[in-house]
């Protein structure tokens, strides 16, 4: 009797343990890795129609650039069919051998997009949106307009600013601007560059790691000035209408948002179809009109009002500063340590 009872109890224990094992992945799924920002609009504009096209179920992996890229790296390039990243992080992904080359014959809409978006990183993914990094500020709290990057160091902005963290897309650009102000090359003379960065410390409340975090800081009144990417401007102005994009004499900095196909994608053909779909003039038009992403398809036509928040038009794009991410990524570990010492001690 005891033997039977023991065996039954042991079987129940083992069964309970097996029941805790993860569920098998569903088949017929297409996995998109992206930020999750503007998720509702993207669901409506891109995902729902694409699901009808591919007769598949689209599932998401969300998070900021570094979290998603590191998860992809941990999985050895598996688990995701397409991944949205800013160009700094897609460059890192290329260096980590996580992406496969794009077959441009399967993405005919590439021919319709701006030249700088077609092959920003060689044979790998194109850019689906172009953005700017600049300065935003609350005109009700900041009396004197901000007109240059150097204004971030103004004494009247003490404890008013949040900068993007060094690990975000725009963070390292703080170092580049500081180096510019110090008259040095940030890569050749990081000591001088970071000495200039340390001059910002009295003005910094905290640094942020996501666009929504920055918007929260503005809406709760913790900050009145920030360095931000323009994709967040619409939501920011909805939260705090008096925030404006500063017109900088020395120009904003260009960022390209890319879509890449990881090496472990299980739906490569669908991934190319998705890419072609996102680059189509119809989707690009709607994304721009709905305040989601700036277009790269040259067939998109926007009114002056619609184009106002975006990086749009030959003249604006030509005036942007461009960043070479190869030396930046190589220097990043050292910059992270220096940044931590400047802001974290």
């Amino acid at each position: 009797m005891n033997k039977r009872l023991s065996l039954r109890l042991a079987t129940v224990s083992a069964a309970a343990m097996l029941a805790a094992s993860p569920a098998m992945a569903q088949s017929g799924t297409f996995t998109v890795s992206w930020w999750g920002f503007n998720g509702d609009a993207l669901q409506e504009i891109i995902i729902d129609p694409f699901q009808e096209m591919c007769d598949c179920e689209v599932i998401f992996e969300t998070g900021n650039n570094s979290d998603r890229l590191s998860r992809l790296q941990l999985r050895g390039g598996d688990g995701v069919d397409v991944i949205y990243l800013t160009d700094r992080f897609s460059q890192l992904g290329i260096e980590l051998d996580l992406f496969q080359p794009i077959d441009r014959a399967l993405v005919p809409n590439i021919e319709q997009i701006y030249d700088l978006a077609q092959a920003p990183q060689g044979e790998f993914g194109p850019a689906y949106s172009i953005g700017r990094v600049g300065i935003v500020y609350n005109t009700e709290e900041v009396a004197e307009p901000i007109t240059s990057w150097g204004d971030l160091w103004r004494e009247d902005l003490a404890s008013q600013i949040s900068l993007p963290g060094i690990t975000t897309t725009a963070g390292p650009m703080v170092v580049l601007q500081a180096a510019e102000r110090a008259g040095v090359d940030a890569y050749a003379d990081p000591d001088a560059a970071f000495a200039e960065v340390s001059g910002l410390v009295p003005n910094i409340v905290t640094n942020y790691n996501t666009g929504s975090e920055m918007i929260n800081l503005f809406s709760t009144g913790e900050i009145t000035v920030s360095m931000a990417q323009d994709f967040a401007l619409g939501r920011l102005q909805a939260a705090v209408p008096s925030v404006v994009w500063a017109e900088l004499d020395d120009g904003a900095i260009a960022t390209l948002n890319t879509i890449n196909i990881p090496t472990g994608s299980e739906n490569v053909e669908l991934a190319h179809m998705f890419l072609n779909f996102v680059l189509s003039v119809e989707i690009q038009q709607e994304l721009a009109e709905r305040g989601v992403d700036a277009p790269v398809n040259s067939g998109v036509s926007l009114t002056e009002e619609q184009a106002a928040p975006w990086t749009y038009g030959d003249e604006m794009i030509a005036g942007l500063q461009r960043v070479d991410y190869v030396p930046m990524n190589a220097a990043l570990d050292d910059w992270i340590n220096r940044w931590n010492e400047v802001f974290g001690m």
Binding site: I204, V205, G221, E222, I336, G344
Partner: protein, 274 residues
């Protein structure tokens, strides 16, 4: 036969603990000794960096302060609760541990609303005329400690109520009848008998606050980096898993050492405690 039954019943749990706790922790720590620059190179690098030492000290300081404050609040609350009538005790325990029903992230967010420049505290102080302009209360060590105390006091109360309930009323009555004041009774009778519970509560709160991520991330920001947030940066941003494993190993060592010290102190205060 009984022994065999015992082994069979405990084997799934033992296997789970081995597979999901001991082996991963051992793998994490062993990875720190495989650096081509030397067996202790990652640790040398950690302790030779002023910033990383500051992060370690800050984390220890925050965890220690949180533990002490939680002990004081938790002990006083638990003592009052344990001396109440049964129905009042149930109500007070529910009220005390109610915050545990919500997640740590939600509870941390609540303090963003309370301590923000346009938050409840600043608005109240401005309304009362105590301050003229809002104070910068967030993204400081103080805001992290305040939130952690709020989060962990219910845990301390839960642990201590059970221990204090088991202190016989006869002892307290006897002390009182022999002329001891309530304060003296509390210090000389209740406190020593509560030491086992205090140690358990202190270990739980110290460990949880030392390894905390969400609260330092939300309320401390990047300027108040702690070991949990620093580990995340090393692992998920810098892709430096050896450095992240080093941070994890140091956290384990500090926690174990602190627990051992607490246990020794407990034994001195109450020789029956362990």
């Amino acid at each position: 036969m009984k022994r065999l039954a015992g082994w069979m019943l405990s084997s799934p749990a033992t296997l789970a603990v081995s597979l999901f706790l001991i082996i991963p922790v051992a793998a994490t720590i062993s990875a720190t000794f495989t650096s081509p620059e030397g067996i202790f190179a990652p640790y040398n690098e950690f302790f030779s960096s002023g910033f990383q030492r500051a992060v370690l000290w800050r984390t220890f300081e925050v965890a220690a302060i949180t533990t002490v404050i939680s002990l004081v609040f938790g002990l006083l609350t638990a003592y009052v609760v344990s001396r109440c009538s049964p129905w009042m005790k149930s109500i007070l325990i529910i009220l005390a541990v109610f915050p545990l029903l919500t997640g740590v992230v939600v509870r941390s967010f609540a303090w963003l609303i309370i301590l923000g420049r346009n938050g409840i505290l600043n608005n109240s102080l401005e309304w009362l005329g105590v301050i003229e302009r809002p104070m910068a209360l967030l993204y400081t060590q103080t805001s992290v400690v305040v939130a952690m105390v709020y989060i962990f006091v219910p845990l301390m109360v839960l642990v201590l109520v059970g221990v204090l309930e088991n202190i016989p009323d006869d002892l307290i009555d006897a002390a009182s009848s022999l002329g001891a004041s309530p304060t003296k009774t509390f210090i000389q009778i209740v406190l020593p008998l509560a030491v086992p519970g205090l140690i358990v509560g202190a270990v739980l709160v110290f460990t949880a606050s030392f390894t905390s991520y969400a609260t330092p991330h939300l309320l401390g920001g990047t300027r108040q980096m702690m070991m949990g947030t620093f580990l995340h940066q090393r692992a998920m941003v810098s892709f430096d898993w050896v450095s992240a494993s080093t941070v994890a190993a140091i956290m384990v060592v500090v926690i174990v050492a602190t627990v051992l010290v607490m246990t020794r102190i407990a034994r001195r205060l109450n020789p029956m405690a362990s």
